[in-house]
């Protein structure tokens, strides 16, 4: 399970940050926690809409992709910090990522009341119609007199507190499961995907047949694409096109780029189809995604793109056991976003990570437990995306 933890303080030294960081490491068996900061988010102003700036969009994406959110609030003048309130106002103005999101509140303050009043206000705020989060009832976690609570390694010293916090967090994990099950049932169906690419986007190279075997050559001529030893400026560096190719070819994985218009634009071509984990052939590049997959798997392909485009999931992974027990093959469909958080397509990377695991086990002396069941595709259950791709569709 993946949670986002919002540090409700923008102070340089923050006990609420320490608290979330402690939760992240101490309870990593319960969930994965991404601790996020609010200090780059400007003061909310109704007459100066900055919803589409990078800091707000990044937070938006993270919250949308998370199973739940933990907010750690300070208390300033009997209420939550102005910085945190400002963030919640941005997240209830033009966008509403907290809608129906399970939320747990924790808080640390210097005083013995431990942010109790701020937490009550925060509950009311999260309950407002523009926010509409689902806050876990009861289970207050207040850390009062916080300056005395951490040791020099930022660990909570009181074992009862650590145990109590564990209990509360376990309940939150159950709560998240429950809420997400309720919400799943009434989730709106997502818009259809245009898998045959009947439309264009700004970057589409027009007037070239997408299905053509030599799409790359035709399209390159059309836009005068640079190649060879021409320099390209990147974030952050300068490489020639040859160097970029060398670099991408050396990646220990099969990389594929599909844009947000569902057009297959690139793969790091180093092997012939029969030697690849997921076969691709050079002539496929440029195809609409519909032509890269067999008909029967198009609904799964569409489901994956819908998840990524809507932000319901940031990455969809599929475990493909058909390569036998001496390979751990995972297909990763990673959503890509620009600086403003707009969906930009899929980075599909496919790799056998067994060599890395083996190396790691050898280095550390750790062992894997249990049998590796090569045959079962348990994790593919509902939405298996067909592993075999394009070549089979073409045949």
């Amino acid at each position: 399970m993946k949670f986002v933890g919002i540090v409700g303080s923008n102070a340089e030294l923050s006990y609420n940050r320490k608290l979330l960081q402690f939760i992240k490491t101490q309870y990593q068996d319960l969930f994965e926690l991404d601790v996020v900061e609010i200090k780059d988010i400007p003061m909310f102003n109704q007459s100066d809409d900055q919803t589409n700036t990078a800091p707000i969009q990044q937070l938006n994406q993270k919250i949308l992709a998370a199973d739940g959110v933990i907010i750690a609030t300070p208390e300033h003048n009997h209420t939550i910090s102005a910085g945190l309130k400002s963030v919640l106002e941005w997240l209830s103005f033009k966008i509403h990522p907290l809608e129906n999101k399970p939320v747990m509140i924790v808080g640390a303050s210097y005083y013995d009341q431990g942010s109790s009043r701020a937490q009550l206000h925060l509950r009311q705020i999260l309950d407002a119609p523009g926010v509409n989060a689902i806050v876990m009832p009861g289970n207050e976690f207040l850390l009062g007199k916080v300056k005395e609570k951490f040791d020099e390694n930022d660990q909570l010293t009181d074992t009862n507190t650590v145990k109590f916090l564990q209990g509360v967090l376990e309940k939150f994990v159950d709560f998240v499961r429950l809420v997400n099950r309720l919400e799943a049932r009434k989730e709106e169906p997502l818009p259809k995907e245009d898998l045959y690419v009947t439309d264009t986007i700004e970057t589409t190279i027009e007037c070239v047949d997408m299905a053509a075997e030599d799409w790359v050559e035709q399209a390159a001529a059309k836009v005068n694409a640079v190649e060879g030893d021409t320099y390209v400026k990147l974030n952050r560096g300068i490489l020639t096109v040859d160097q970029i190719n060398t670099f991408l070819a050396s990646m220990p994985m099969e990389l594929t780029y599909a844009d947000d218009n569902n057009q297959f634009l690139y793969y790091n071509y180093t092997k012939e189809a029969e030697d690849m984990l997921a076969d691709r052939v050079p002539g496929q590049v440029g195809n609409p995604l519909a032509l890269c997959h067999p008909e029967r798997s198009l609904t799964s392909v569409e489901w994956v793109i819908q998840q990524l485009r809507s932000g319901r999931q940031d990455v969809v992974r599929v475990h493909v056991p058909t390569h036998g027990p001496d390979k751990f093959v995972v297909h990763n469909y990673q959503a890509m976003h620009d600086d403003e958080g707009n969906y930009k397509g899929i980075n599909e990377y496919i790799l056998d990570f067994k060599p890395i695991v083996d190396w790691y086990l050898q280095q550390t002396g750790l062992r894997l437990e249990g049998e590796i069941d090569a045959g079962s595709g348990a994790s593919q259950q509902d939405h298996g995306v067909d592993a075999g791709s394009g070549a089979s569709a073409k045949a």
């Binding site: 910085g83 919640l88 209830s92 210097y110 005083y111 705020i125």
Partner: protein, 202 residues
């Protein structure tokens, strides 16, 4: 004649709460001078380690110190006080204490039917915090609902009942200000308590 500060509780360019304060300013000009104060330009409060406060804030604090009372008009954002107003109040209680024992009257306007009632309740709790400790006029509430429809083009409140209610509250506030100046016994210790009070020493 009394001198009040009318604190606009939002950084928005178009605000019915600003309109309300402008109305109060002109409607009661025979009884008090009212200077409107904006909170737009303030940076996000971040508890600077060196306890420094922007000059804008110092000037605001000075004006509040000088005034007989403050009228705060708050919008309601997400059932609470807007971040920009909370932000201003954080600065105005960070090593400076212009609100301690300052008579305050709260008003508020909202687009909906409730007239910012929940934000006003929060604002009372906020103003009661140890470093603000304002003297909030008790048992009084001015809620302007449907605020987008509440004014005519001359910026006058259209509902005579609302005007009458406001006149009553304003007259009470003038008396309340005088009463508070008589509550001198606790003043010295309140001021000292706020000044000696430091969250860092807890």
């Amino acid at each position: 004649m009394k001198h009040f500060i009318g604190l606009v509780g939002t950084n928005s360019d178009h605000s019915t709460n600003r309109q309300l304060l402008q109305f109060i300013q002109s409607h009661f000009r025979e009884h008090a001078t009212i200077e409107l104060m904006e909170i737009k330009s303030l940076p996000v409060f971040n508890k600077p380690e060196d306890s420094s406060v922007p000059t804008d804030v110092k000037e605001m604090a000075e004006k509040i110190e000088q005034a007989d009372g403050v009228i705060i008009s708050t919008p309601e954002y997400d059932h609470a006080v807007p971040a920009s107003l909370m932000n201003a109040l954080n600065w105005l209680s960070y090593g400076i204490y212009p609100f301690v024992d300052k008579p305050v009257m709260i008003t508020g306007a909202s687009y909906g039917t409730l007239g910012s009632s929940r934000a006003q309740a929060h604002l009372r709790q906020i103003l009661d915090a140890p470093e603000l400790k304002a003297r909030i006029m008790p048992s009084s509430e001015f809620l302007l609902a449907h605020s987008l429809q509440a004014f005519n083009e001359d910026n006058q409140l259209v509902d005579p009942e609302q005007i009458e209610k406001l006149e009553g509250l304003f007259a009470d506030f003038v008396i309340f200000v005088d009463l508070v100046t008589q509550l001198v016994h606790a003043h010295g210790s309140n001021k000292k308590a706020a000044e000696n009070f430091s969250w860092d020493n807890l």
